[in-house]
Symmetry: C2
Subunit: 338 residues, 2 copies
DNA sequence: GTGAAAGCGCTAACAT
DNA sequence: ATGTTAGCGCTTTCAC
């Protein structure tokens, strides 16, 4: 299979569109039409060109394509490389973008690499929109950015002028409480997120859904936080004295802390205590954890974000920016003791 | 700060090098020289051009630059988005690449997106080398790829014709055993990785370092695996009957399974049992785990990989492809009981 | 249906 | 030290 040197081709170089055109006896323009599947080429020609392209091992040069075409069909993503959930969304964005006819350009944010830099890279590469997962830039910076290109933020609260795709936190908490109530729980406590951003909203949703379930008098909120240690600390107070039969935690890491504390205390989960997390992270799915958790639906968020970007690029108004989370029931919830 | 319309500039468009050149009264070529810091421009001119560029908000268009220059100074990375350790390496690669004067292009591999596709994207974008983190492609595919561009694999065993940057597994295991032996442990068991790739090498290293430490008669190997469940299963056997005082696990997830089992059994770690993991993953660093683990030194691997790529691009032979891992001592190891 | 010509924004020889 | 001249590989009118 020696084909490093096609007839007329220059040695050692990647074949170009011109090579394909020459080899199949058409003009570059026509070859271009065929390669990108545009209309304006006869069936016979199309087949012939495609066949030579294949034989030559031709692949379009994305740099040249991007440079020339006004529509780059390129979607830029900023994400934090150390956030597992960002990874899930990124993966789903690839699928959604492909379906919508877009290419994806990734730009990681990290300790070494501020978000501003990550975004600049995307802009310089000619993306038509920037999807920013949990953007850390301030509203002013985002607004400035949004003047250059449509910006869609994921997982963050709305900022004026920026489309925000996120999931309905209140609905997620409600689903958790309703699930527990349906199992027969009445003593359902909430370990909140402390100072974390979404904490207040989730706390309010907990109170409201407890009342909706007719067990408003059982409301019990403990100060928690976003990490395992917070869950462990809260569990100390929670498991001493009158113990609830179920806990809704601020997030999975907090829930994991509660689980750890419960296990060490000798409590059986879910027989003695049911625990629900939030995020449906990798942690929740670990074989030995199998935590019931509220899933933010990475695929749904990704699709909505891509659809939103596509709409903005077409200068249309997007919609469907708020996704409904779903409760994923695993092994940490069951009927209450007795 | 209205500067959407600079004099002579076209409305709503990003300023180009031509705009900068015109506005500062020099030729495009000279402006180009200044912008990329090449030599051949007077100090005064340089300042003036730079100043107008700043005023205009000019940023070079990377597509055009990439297209034109033979040296794209672009490094392509394939990584798996769901692997936390890959993320760490990616972050370090950014830093290393910048120091070496390279840009980084990320291409994610996932369930939706096979590695072959991820690599093609990189090639089409004109990368000068491909760094593949834990490549999943077969030797034949890798070899074919390596004929087009230098390929450096990270974290994987060497393949003929491909440079492999990895860490010295045997040394890592040895460090773990020596650490435990130094603490006074003699009964050090090993829960291996089952069928996992690196399992055999680590198992052999365990045996050898046990003998080196003069406790060859205490060698005890249990069948494990790469996941929590494997650790839990192995722990069942391990903790019944004559219990070792310490365990070296195949990796962090396996170690976590052992920890869980120990906690549930009521054992105190490290008072009753010391546990060492491998990978120094996020899991190991969780507040409530604080697992002593062998760190693969993401930064070192990243630097070595970038240096290797740079060498290959210059048609030189790389070296320093095998990194020494380091033991990170946390809270799961201590002196043996009694 | 097909081809000729004109660039996209930039860099790199080659003049001056 | 500065400017001129060609393109990189591709897409996109616009003729035929």
């Amino acid at each position: 299979m020696e084909r490093d040197q096609q007839p007329g081709g220059r040695p050692g170089r990647r074949p170009t569109l011109a090579d394909v055109a020459a080899a199949s006896g058409v003009s570059r323009a026509l070859a271009s039409i065929v390669m990108r599947g545009a209309e304006g080429a006869g069936e016979a020609t199309r087949e012939r060109v495609l066949e030579t392209a294949r034989q030559l091992g031709y692949r379009p040069d994305s740099r040249a394509r991007l440079l020339r075409s006004s529509r780059t069909r390129l979607l830029g993503i900023t994400f934090t490389v150390s956030e597992p959930f960002h990874g899930e969304i990124v993966e789903s964005i690839y699928a959604a973008a492909e379906a919508a006819g877009f290419e994806v350009l990734l730009s990681a944010v990290g300790a070494q690499r501020p978000e501003a830099r990550a975004v600049e890279t995307l802009l310089d590469a000619g993306v038509e929109a920037a999807l920013m997962i949990s953007p850390s830039s301030g509203p002013a910076d985002l607004a400035a950015l949004a003047r250059q290109v449509p910006v869609i933020s994921l997982l963050s609260a709305a900022v004026p002028g920026i489309d925000a795709v996120r999931s309905d936190d209140a609905a997620g908490i409600r689903a958790a409480v309703q699930h527990l109530a349906a199992l027969g729980h009445r003593d359902i406590a909430h370990v909140d997120g402390g100072d974390a951003v979404a904490s207040a909203e989730r706390r309010a949703a907990y109170e409201e859904s407890m009342r909706e379930a007719g067990i408003g008098e059982c409301i019990r909120i403990l100060h928690g936080g976003a990490h395992e240690a917070d869950g462990i600390a809260a569990a100390g107070e929670l498991l001493a004295g009158r113990r609830p039969t179920a806990v809704v935690a601020f997030n999975d890491r907090c829930a994991l802390g509660i689980l750890e504390a419960a296990w060490r205390t000798g409590l059986r989960v879910p027989d003695d205590l049911s625990v629900v997390g939030y995020d449906d992270s990798q942690l929740a799915r670990l074989d030995h954890v199998r935590l019931t958790s509220v899933s933010q639906d990475a695929a749904g968020l990704a699709e909505a974000a891509v659809a939103c970007a596509a709409a903005r690029i077409r200068s249309e108004e997007p919609d469907g920016l708020v996704l409904q989370p779903a409760l994923v029931v695993r092994s940490t919830t069951g009927t209450p003791p007795d």
